[in-house]
Amino acid sequence: MHRLKDLEGLVQIFQLRAGGLLADFPPLRTVPGGVAAATRTLPRDLVSFTGRQRELAELIDAAAGAAGGVVGIHAIGGMAGVGKTAFAARDLEEALGLYRDLGNRGGEVTALNEAGTLSRVRGDLRQAGSCHQQALDLARQIGSSWDEAHALAGLGRCALAASRTVEAEGMLRQAVAIFQRIGAAETADVSAELDALTAARPTSHES
């Protein structure tokens, strides 16, 4: 929800997306405090909330379009070892299938990147790389720079986890360039990853 200058109340704002139109933009230039005001009864986030703009946009869009229907959101919590990650993986797989059935390629590319992240965290680098590569191809097809940068960052992290540092640096550098170009909030985080990588690499020789 957003607050507009000189106007009372919070409003929902939508972005038109279509072939031939730019798709990725920085946050709206609305009056600060719109979301905070709407959720002031909730505890403040302990860390900045970045990298999930697309998912939030989709949730809001789904809620707005539900028109009396029901929107389900799964919050996954619990102690270590109870299967949170496995549950998330199953949900993600289901979401990916639904997006493909619906022909929602924007949702599909986001789910592919998320699946890549999850696979990497679980240690399956081959699967992770495959998901991010599919996401990269799809992002380029639909012209989504934000998803393209996320896919490149994911591929970079996979390469880094496999000790392919030169490849990792190249991928992360491409991701940073795109995030910077579109003014995305992720620029700082991925730049920091890149800086840490280059600082830790003593020579230009790949091991």
Partner: protein, 151 residues
């Protein structure tokens, strides 16, 4: 019920400073021609123009959306004087206004202007009221989508 459209060029002051008055005047002329062509093709009525900004009204949100799509595509495809990149922010809102001697007056006009001002060059923002009407008018399979913008 009107559908209001506000547009303006992102960073026009900086653009003028960069390219100088002569080139800027040509940029502005090309920009005005593209916006006016979009209005003419889709039944839009120009209400006001100030510098690089336009205020127009349409009889339906669907016509307005068709116009802004045509305008944005034309603006992107255009070869601009001085090799500059010109990006225009646009805001669409549906609501009420009274036709007075001083022009269209109403809170929804102000709301539409504020929505446009919240966007970035090349971005088309749509209010909830306009989005609801456009959704019901859109033929399926045109690849046109309306996404919620997060805070």
């Amino acid at each position: 019920m009107f559908t209001f459209l506000f547009t303006d060029i992102e960073g026009s002051t900086a653009l003028l400073g960069r390219v100088g008055q002569g080139v800027y005047a040509r940029v502005l002329a090309d920009h005005h021609a593209i916006i006016r062509a979009g209005l003419a093709c889709h039944g839009g009525r120009e209400v006001d123009t100030q510098g690089d900004a336009f205020f127009a009204v349409f009889s339906s949100p669907a016509a307005c959306v068709a116009a802004v799509l045509a305008m944005q595509r034309a603006l992107q495809a255009h070869g601009w004087p001085g090799g500059e990149r010109v990006r225009v922010r646009m805001g669409v809102h549906a609501g009420q206004a009274s036709q007075t001697a001083a022009g269209l007056v109403g809170l929804d006009v102000h709301r539409a202007a504020r929505i446009a001002a919240a966007g970035h060059g090349g971005q088309v923002l749509v209010s909830q009221a306009a989005a609801a009407l456009v959704r019901s008018d859109l033929p399926p399979g045109r690849g046109l989508r309306i996404w919620g913008c997060t805070g």
